[in-house]
């Protein structure tokens, strides 16, 4: 009886030690995919409206206290080539090989409904607000493992490679401005409403109305981000193929949903590891007793002590 109790005790101790308590209710391990935010905010960007004036870029830098990236211009003006550790928002130009087709594109965090960065972040430094769905970063929880960069299908999070206290830099939807009842700096700065701010439902309706109003104008007659990667809170309308402006072709099932499926089943209440532990411990315990008897016999016969 004591042996059984002890075994159970070790099982529990190992469980507490291993501590992979996936499946505990009320924490991050909920539905797969997780419930949508209650009042998701959104941005809608339309390539046919953007004039490439880049007013949104300094507005973003100013609102977020980012030092302008002036490396390419020899220190004269802000001129990032792409998103980087100083740039959370960028306007890029795409041209076809023969130059006949072109488009501007605005890039920033897509604020996915089921973000890979949040799913992979070991201590929840990246978190999606259950209210407005903004994906934010909390410095005190981040160990700098950069799994978010590996996981993000849009290659959005950037790491401050040249700082001793490096931060993860990415658009946080100007959540400090949202808290003050303002809209994000980029949408506020845009002079032609190429990028607009609103609730996700309203902007999706708006986007579909634009598609319906002008058949043939938009690529594939669809809104990028409505279902792509499981849905995003930044939506795109484009007159050129999405791939061309850097928006990858992704499944409507998010990577996290696919990645979570089996681990969640195996680790639910730790039943998988505990079952294997029980099985292994049972077998090992029997072999161990036999091994001990054999070791004692050999020690009596030869005088040699067993070497574990």
């Amino acid at each position: 009886m004591r042996g059984v109790t002890r075994r159970e005790m070790f099982g529990l101790a190992a469980a507490a030690g291993a501590g992979i308590v996936a499946g505990s209710p009320g924490t991050s391990a909920g539905a797969n995919p997780p419930a949508a935010p209650r009042e998701p905010v959104a941005m809608l960007y339309d390539t046919t409206r953007c004039t490439g004036c880049k007013a949104c870029m300094p507005a973003c830098a100013e609102a977020n206290g980012l030092e302008p990236d002036t490396a390419m211009s020899g220190g004269i003006w802000q001129m990032p080539l792409d998103l980087n550790a100083q740039t959370k928002n960028v306007i890029k130009l795409w041209q076809s090989d023969d130059g006949s087709e072109w488009s501007f594109v605005k890039r920033q965090c897509m604020h996915c409904l089921d973000p890979a960065c949040v799913s992979g972040c070991p201590f929840g430094a990246l978190e999606k607000s259950p209210l407005d769905g903004v994906v934010g970063w909390e410095p005190s929880l981040c160990i700098g493992c950069r799994y978010c960069e590996v996981a993000c299908p849009f290659d959005i999070p950037k790491f401050e490679w040249n700082k001793f206290n490096p931060k993860i830099v990415k658009c946080q939807f100007c959540d400090h401005r949202l808290a003050d009842g303002l809209q994000p700096a980029c949408t506020a700065a845009c002079p032609v409403e190429a990028v607009i701010f609103g609730s996700r439902d309203a902007l999706l309706a708006d986007a579909h109305a634009r598609i319906d109003a002008a058949p043939g104008k938009y690529f594939a007659e669809r809104v990028y981000g409505e279902h792509d990667a499981g849905g995003t809170q930044v939506l795109y309308l484009s007159h050129v193929p999405f791939e061309d402006i850097g928006l990858p072709t992704l499944s409507t099932v998010s990577n996290p949903e696919y990645a979570r499926k089996w681990p969640r089943r195996m680790y639910k209440w730790l039943w998988g590891p505990l079952a294997i532990y029980g099985l292994v411990a049972g077998v090992v315990q029997r072999r161990w007793q036999k091994h001990e008897r054999e070791a004692h016999r050999l020690e009596r016969e030869t005088g040699l002590r067993e070497q574990l």
Partner: protein
């Protein structure tokens, strides 16, 4: 055939300081010094990593690849304590030492790699755990395994040495803790087989989240299972390789029969892995990509042929009992395994555009090599100090005879046991 290897015997009557030992120590010290410098500096100047290739060789090689070889204790342990291959007890100490060294240096590499290591204390607060994250699973499970379970497995030979050569107080204390260690031993080693199964599969699961960035020949829902079985393959290969290399280097006799048993297990595990790997690729209709002969296909073929050939060769008892064949084929299997564990993290990892490339910088490589050199130096020191490498019983008798003559104050009997204990 008699069981030639019977007992762990230290590598004795050799000098600690040799030319190769000094050379490796220099590599280790350079690596450690650079790593220390990195801890007080940003990551950028020390590595070739970028936002696209955010993981460099410290993670992808020292951790994700080399801890597979650190699964030696896992593989041999399961074969011995679970599957009942009794004779492999003779090589257990070598296997767990290899494990401790690869895991220990891998975790050190991880500590240098993460950018905000001071926030790791968050692991103490369960309500901050993201239990969906494979990275969290690795971050919790791997240190727990290395510093608790694996360290525990490595305790007996240390105590044995102190017991044989220490003073009366030390001997009494060891006598006092021994019954406790024996009581928890089977439960601890059972834990030492569950935890690697968890984190070695999680290392594969890490890549699930990267989706299409990992080439379809490697990206599969079976990645965790393939990574786990591959860890077992690597564990057997690392054990054979470490034993044979050590025996060749220090001119100790080898036991072809035990090595052949390991090779047999290695071969069977490879067949299991290859079957699963090929079935998965076929099931996902990627066989075309496998034989396309582009760079990815070449890596894929190199992995699989590099594993298939040793697995086939080892089906012949005569061949696997031929030391040269055994050594060369194990090395080939080890290299192919290494390629499989490394490829999806780097060679077959394709973020962003075709212009994004990653090649480790010089300090990054020096630190990487430093960890490996540190492990080899540690191995050399350990096998010269403790009774780890297996040897015939006569070697033990000779060791004790010399120890009794040189150190009468230890008061050892002819079997090496303290007479006053």
């Amino acid at each position: 055939m008699i069981n030639y290897w019977q007992r762990g015997v230290p590598v004795w009557q050799v000098r600690y300081l040799t030319v190769s030992f000094a050379g490796l120590s220099v590599v280790a010290v350079v690596g450690l010094a650079l790593a220390a410098l990195r801890m007080v500096s940003p990551l950028g100047p020390f590595s070739g990593m970028s936002d696209m290739y955010a993981w460099g060789v410290w993670k992808t090689f020292n951790v994700m690849t080399l801890t597979a070889f650190g699964s030696a204790g896992f593989s041999v342990g399961i074969a011995t304590w679970v599957l009942g291959h009794q004779r492999l007890h003779a090589v257990m100490r070598t296997a767990i030492l290899v494990s401790l060294l690869f895991y220990g240096t891998g975790l050190l590499a991880l500590g240098v790699d993460v950018g905000r290591v001071w926030n790791f204390y968050n692991i103490l607060f369960p309500w901050r755990w993201n239990t969906d994250s494979a990275m969290f699973e690795v971050a919790l499970c791997m240190p727990l395994y290395a510093f608790l379970f694996l360290a525990f497995e490595n305790v007996p030979y240390v105590l044995e040495r102190i017991w044989a050569t220490g003073g009366p107080v030390a001997r009494r204390r060891i006598r006092a803790v021994e019954p406790f260690l024996r009581r928890i031993y089977p439960f601890m080693i059972a834990g030492a087989y569950v935890l690697p199964a968890m984190h070695q599969s999680s290392l594969g699961a890490l890549l699930s989240l990267a989706g299409a960035k990992v080439h379809p020949l490697w990206q599969t829902p079976w990645l965790p299972v393939l990574y786990l079985i591959q860890a077992v393959v690597c564990g057997f290969a690392a054990t054979i390789f470490a034993l044979m290399t050590a025996c060749l280097y220090w001119k100790r006799p080898i036991d072809v029969s035990i090595l052949s048993e390991l090779a047999d297990l290695l071969s069977k595990t490879i067949f299991l892995w290859l079957g699963l790997r090929l079935a998965d690729v076929a099931w996902r209709h990627e066989l075309g990509a496998a034989v396309a002969l582009d760079s990815y296909s070449v890596i894929f073929l190199a992995e699989n042929v590099g594993l298939l050939v040793p697995a086939l060769v080892f089906r012949s008892r005569r061949l696997r009992e031929t030391p040269r064949v055994l050594y060369n084929m194990t090395t080939l299997a080890g290299l192919a395994s290494l390629l499989y564990r490394f490829a999806p993290t780097t060679l077959a990892f394709r973020p962003g555009g075709p212009h994004d490339v990653y090649f480790p910088s010089v300090p990054e490589l020096l630190i990487m090599c430093g960890w490996i050199a540190l492990a080899i130096v540690g191995f050399s020191l350990a096998v010269k100090t403790f009774a780890i490498l297996p040897a015939p019983i006569e070697a033990w008798d000779r060791l004790i005879a010399v120890a009794r003559a040189d150190h009468p104050e230890w008061r050892l009997d002819v079997h090496g046991n303290p007479t006053d204990d």
